[in-house]
């Protein structure tokens, strides 16, 4: 059970919006929606990316924000990159679901939505040209901060309206942590179960170094998908996260560092 990056060929690259692209590898892998891959660029580094497409091809959807993703964006069809995984605990499938994706957070939700039976899908972005997968999931409800498309407001505002009228078996969410925290709080008030996919700094990816710890839970092994029961035990959820050294900072500072 060696877990060493294997080099795979980039089969094709799809532009999702100006700062987001999906990279497809030829390989078919055994994956549960919500799991992630460790992606290695030799000489540069290795980072986690959620699987956004599964099947004959495997895809990851990447938001350009720093030097690693910048390098990925410079790659062309036929180039090779290292991949190990899949890692982590994916989403548990429940009927009568609502799925909420903010920005690039829709990535891990893609394959989930395809497995669910007629879920209500909410896709959000700052403005209409930032929307991801709105064609892939044509029936999705859209929310934009500036109102340039669909509902005018945050995804969470839209969700709030929706759950007032309908009781869901499960709410799935991924996006900025502040958004996921808001979803969780809303669900708690409402008595609805939810599952969210968290991000923390990942090193080993297989549950040994402890670096991705969030109050005793490992993002890479217990997560990245956590359910309400687990989230309730996480004081740091929505508030604190660890930098590369292990120093704990506010989630806002972490997010800033993360996107610097």
């Amino acid at each position: 059970m060696a877990e060493i990056p294997e080099m795979v060929k980039i089969n094709r690259i799809v532009r999702e919006n100006s700062d987001t692209r999906t990279f497809f590898f030829g390989e078919k892998m055994e994956i549960t929606p919500g799991q992630f891959l460790m992606v290695w660029v030799p000489g540069l580094g290795e980072k986690p990316f959620s699987v956004s497409y599964m099947g004959e091809e495997t895809g990851i959807t990447v938001f350009r924000r720093g030097k690693f993703t910048e390098r990925l964006f410079s790659m062309k069809k036929g180039d090779i990159i290292g991949v190990r995984g899949p890692y982590g605990n994916g989403f548990g499938i429940k009927d009568n679901a609502c799925v909420v994706g903010g920005g690039c957070g829709i990535a891990p939700l893609g394959p989930l939505i395809e497995k669910l039976d007629d879920p209500l899908v909410i896709i959000g972005a700052k403005s209409s040209d930032g929307l991801i997968f709105s064609k892939r999931f044509a029936g999705a409800k859209i929310a934009t901060d500036d109102g340039s498309s669909g509902f005018h407001g945050f995804t969470t505002d839209l969700l709030e309206k929706v759950i007032r009228n309908r009781r869901f078996g499960m709410v799935y969410a991924c996006g900025p942590e502040i958004m996921m925290k808001r979803v969780f709080d809303m669900c708690e008030e409402n008595g609805t179960e939810c599952q969210v996919s968290l991000e923390r700094y990942v090193k080993c990816g297989f549950g040994i170094c402890g670096h991705c710890d969030i109050d005793g839970f490992m993002i890479c092994k217990d997560g990245p998908v956590f359910c309400s029961y687990q989230l309730r035990q996480m004081k740091s959820f929505g508030s604190r996260a660890k930098l590369k050294s292990g120093k704990k900072v506010s989630v806002a500072e972490y997010a800033g560092w993360r996107c610097r």
Binding site: M1, A2, E3, I4, P5, E6, M7, M38, W40, P42, G43, G45, E46, K47, I80, G82, R84, V202, K203, C204, G205, F206, G207, I208, C209, G210, H211, D213, D215, G216, K242, L243, K244, S245, G246, K247, K248
Partner: protein, 303 residues
């Protein structure tokens, strides 16, 4: 029949000890490890100043072991003393792991962690992949080991375990230097090598640092030999660490001379409840083979 052990004054319900650098990054996490049956836990090594460590990839799994070059990432002594406070409440002894470049650095960390409630200190002088520390800084010579051990022992009343490298030529001599300088016990061993894995399609070493320390099954026979040698050289007890993955491995390590066993990579191979599993396997074997306690097995392979 019982698995309890006492080592340098520490009372453990069983001889499994979480090794440093595995999971031990937060209070919550070590609580979870204890809940999963560990007899004691060691936290990830702490330096005075925080360190980001090496870039990813930092840990990989080979066919027969792990290889890591985490590079001692840690938030520093101040931050850590906040994270690990009031440890007296814990249900098992918690051991702090203290690192430094200069001898004085170790002492500064010891002082900063003073009020946390640690039961013992471990001093690794044996990391094979972090410039400025361990073997790369020559901390594994008998002289340097003696010097650092002495300084740490003067700065604390807690038992001090000195953690040795399997890559040091005469490990027995280094253990003797630590014993002479006041160490209460020896942890043997840290990771082996270093080694290197090259991805031939990428034409590059996989670990960002190029090389890394080897742990897990590939390390076990070397670790057993080290423990055997240390046991012959000193009278202080040994925490036998390196490749212990199941109950038989633990007993092998104990027969080589260990009083308890460190467990690291096995968390990867068998999950976080590996402590409980190993204890159950040890008990079963001891019952079958007529052993009543751990003590009568310690060093049984000698002579």
């Amino acid at each position: 029949m019982g698995l309890e052990v006492e080592i340098s004054g520490l009372k453990l319900n069983n001889p499994t000890v979480l090794a440093s650098g595995i999971l031990g990054v937060s209070r919550k996490m070590i609580e979870r490890v204890i809940d999963n049956g560990a007899g004691a836990v060691t936290i990830k090594s702490i330096s005075y100043e925080g360190r980001e460590g090496h870039n990813n990839p930092t840990v990989i799994s080979m066919e027969n072991g792990l290889m890591n070059a985490v590079g001692y990432s840690n938030p520093g002594a101040e931050e850590s003393s906040k994270e690990f406070s009031g440890l007296n409440d814990m249900k098992a002894p918690v051991i702090a792991s203290v690192i430094g470049q200069e001898t004085g650095d170790f002492v500064k960390v010891v002082k900063a962690l003073e009020k946390c409630g640690f039961s013992a200190l471990e001093v690794p002088l044996s990391c094979p992949h972090t410039p400025g520390f361990g073997t790369l800084a020559g901390q594994d010579t008998p002289e340097k080991t003696g010097e650092i051990t002495k300084a740490v022992c003067s700065a604390t009343d807690l038992p001090v375990f000195v953690k040795l490298s399997p890559n040091t030529k005469n490990i027995g001599e280094v253990a003797m230097a630590a014993e002479r300088a006041g160490a209460s016990g020896i942890t043997a061993v840290n990771t082996m090598g270093p080694g290197m894995v090259i991805n031939i399609e990428a034409r590059k070493p996989v670990l960002a640092f190029g090389v890394g320390g080897i742990s897990g099954p590939a390390l076990k026979p070397v670790a057993v030999r080290c423990v055997y040698d240390v046991y012959e050289s000193v009278r202080i007890p040994v925490i036998g660490t390196g490749g212990v993955t199941n109950g038989r491995d633990a007993i092998e390590m104990i027969m080589a001379g260990a009083s308890c066993v460190g467990i690291g990579s096995a968390v990867y191979y068998r999950g976080i409840d590996v402590f409980r599993k190993i204890c159950a396997e040890m008990e079963e074997w001891m019952k079958k083979n007529g052993y009543k306690n751990i003590e009568e097995m310690v060093g049984a392979a000698h002579g």
